[in-house]
């Protein structure tokens, strides 16, 4: 039985690998098939912004294209990109912060993003499940309808819009929280308490943007799951057995919601990351979201590609890891 499981997991691994490669390829080719290339676009931007009377000479453009390998044909570019990527983790030099490799920039920004995102997602998911279970169990109570309506509304607000509202109200109007950044400019970094508190202080609003929306979203789905489960036969028998409520709720209801909720989490990750880019931008948080925005403004092709590939990779990996957990959660999948 163990063998079958192993083979199944290996198959899934290859599936993810293929999806990653195909997405990467599709993305690469799509980008290069649309009219316009980075250098020409960059030049156009410059011309538009600075109103250059004389067009940039063809030679300079050609030189830059060569430097960035844009003159070779599509397939050659693709293979060289792939080779560099896999062998050296090399995304190429950053267009703008030349010659710092794009990889370095991304590496510096990544921990900030993961820290904020990771904590926010875990908190939301857990809190949402707890609240949703209570809501489903005690749906007759007065607070329940109110919580439900509140949840229905809040869960549909895009995280970045909520971020704007929060920053507007709490930073600009009320001045309680800082407007941006991850830490105060003059603070001494390191493992001291002041720094940590400062970090938390700065991370609070960005985290809240995500937590408020996602907690309520999870709460609503959990409530529906719990209500569904309450109608199942095994709950009837569990009640007939006179199990104490705590046991009933944790082992008979919660455990049966774990699988759908985990799947839900995996599927939502891409969606959460989408909003996260914008949240970082709004709060000027030094993660890959902000890096991406800067790169957009400066049309830094390599950084943009690098971030996209990186994000794709991590989201797919997270999904795969979560899939690995399935047999642990639901014994029916172990076969």
């Amino acid at each position: 039985m163990k063998n079958k499981l192993l083979r199944y997991l290996i198959r899934r691994f290859f599936l993810y690998l293929i999806i990653f490669l195909i997405s990467l390829t599709a993305f690469f080719f799509f980008l290069n098939l649309v009219p316009g290339d980075p250098v020409t676009r960059y030049v156009q931007e410059l011309e538009a912004r600075y109103g250059l009377a004389t067009p940039v000479s063809e030679e300079i453009i050609k030189e830059y294209k060569e430097a960035f390998g844009l003159d070779k044909n599509l397939f050659a570019r693709y293979t060289s990109y792939l080779k560099r990527l896999v062998l050296n983790f090399d995304f190429g030099p950053s267009f703008v912060a030349f010659p710092t490799p794009a990889f370095q920039l991304i590496l510096d920004a990544f921990p900030w993003s993961i820290g904020l995102l990771g904590v926010a997602v875990i908190v939301s998911w857990t809190l949402g499940i707890l609240l949703g279970t209570i809501l489903g169990w005690k749906r007759e109570s007065k607070g329940a309808s109110f919580a439900l309506v509140l949840g229905l509304i809040l869960s549909q607000v895009p995280t970045y819009l909520l971020a704007l509202i929060l920053v507007m109200v709490f930073s600009f109007v009320l001045g309680i929280f800082p407007m941006g950044g991850a830490y105060s400019p003059l603070i001494e970094k390191g493992f001291n308490l002041r720094y940590i508190i400062d970090l938390l202080y700065h991370a609070f609003l960005p985290a809240m943007s995500l937590i408020l929306v996602y907690t309520f979203g999870t709460m609503i789905s959990q409530r529906a799951l719990v209500i569904n489960i309450l109608g199942e036969d095994y709950i009837k028998l569990a009640e007939a057995k006179g199990l104490k409520s705590n046991r009933l709720i944790s082992r008979y209801i919660l455990r049966n919601t774990l699988l759908p909720q985990t799947t839900g989490l995996a599927l939502s990750l891409g969606f959460i990351v989408n909003g996260f880019f914008l949240i970082e931008w709004i709060f000027n948080y030094p993660g890959i979201g902000r890096l991406f925005m800067t790169a957009i403004r400066q049309m830094d092709y390599n950084v943009l590609m690098g971030i996209t590939v990186n994000t794709m990779f991590w989201v797919l990996t997270a999904n795969f890891i979560i899939e690995l957990l399935y047999p642990l959660i639901d014994p029916r999948i172990r076969r």
Binding site: I22, V167, F277
Partner: protein, 284 residues
């Protein structure tokens, strides 16, 4: 019609979105009247940064534009793009879901895998890069790429229903009478799907509107068809927050939230009505 009676959520959702759609439809008339033929995005029509007054209910922005008219135009375009892109996405989703569900087998598995992959992978950075590097992004192209990334979500709503309908007797009957596969799919199966297609459509609309707003917020996208997201972007870049012009920022956000929430209410309401288990247990 019983939907309206049995689900207050659905009713509220429909009311809100209908009001918004009506306002958007009236936008040309209202703006013509208020601006005398000028476009609401025209710079320098009025004095800059005026506070709210009778003439300018929301004041003017840093470019001298009347905020009220601007927001109406934004609403119009947000809805327009949302519906067009959403419609495209739904079309793709329906065609693919019907084909996959009806044919089954490896085609089904393939389409499901593709749609799951699109769902899982974060689409915003990819969209951003595409919009950034394509020289001319017009309404059609924008809708097309928005639809490309949205159809997967829509398809998830539609697929399971199609799979179940395949087994229904009248389908068997049609098969026996030698209608071609395509004919069966479109004449017999589709018409019964309308409620589910509608749900798929509303998911697609929300999805595309959210993606579009996310793009516009950072300034990407055709500036000549300003949606509410674009307006927000202009406001932020002109320093509305720092200068305390909260109206300029708050109003587009509130309208966007109303749009998303109302469509979602419609979805939830429909789900409650068509999902009997939930109803029975909650005693609704």
């Amino acid at each position: 019609m019983r939907i309206f009676k049995s689900s207050p959520k659905f009713t509220v959702g429909v009311i809100i979105i209908s009001i918004l759609i009506v306002i958007a439809l009236l936008e040309p008339t209202i703006n013509n009247h208020r601006l005398g033929g000028h476009s609401s995005t025209e710079i320098g029509l009025y004095e800059t940064s005026l506070p709210p007054s009778k003439e300018h209910p929301f004041g003017t922005d840093a470019y001298g534009r009347d905020v009220f008219s601007l927001i109406l135009t934004g609403l119009k375009y947000s809805l327009l793009i949302g519906f067009i892109a959403g419609g495209l996405a739904t079309l793709i989703a329906v065609v693919l879901a019907t084909t996959a569900g009806y044919k089954g087998g490896w085609l089904d598995a393939f389409i499901t895998t593709v749609s799951n992959a699109i769902l899982i992978i974060p689409s915003w950075p990819i969209l951003a890069i595409i919009v950034l590097f394509v020289r001319k992004v017009d309404l059609f192209f924008l809708s097309l790429i928005l639809a490309f990334f949205s159809w997967a979500g829509s398809s998830r709503q539609i697929k399971p229903q199609i799979a179940s309908l395949k087994e229904r007797p009248y389908v068997e009957l049609a098969r026996v009478t030698a209608f071609s596969d395509i004919e069966i799919m479109f004449k017999e199966i589709l018409p019964n799907f309308l409620p589910y297609i509608f749900v798929g459509f509303s998911y697609a609309v929300t999805g595309t509107m959210m993606a579009e707003t996310a793009l516009r917020l950072v300034g990407l996208g055709p500036a000549d068809i300003p949606s509410l997201g674009q307006i927000l972007n202009w406001a932020l870049y002109a320093g509305a927050l720092a200068q305390g012009h909260y109206f300029l920022v708050l109003t587009p956000i509130v309208i966007l939230i109303l749009l998303f929430v109302s469509i979602n209410l419609i979805n939830v309401g429909l789900d409650e009505v068509y999902n009997p288990r939930l109803k029975q247990i909650t005693g609704v």
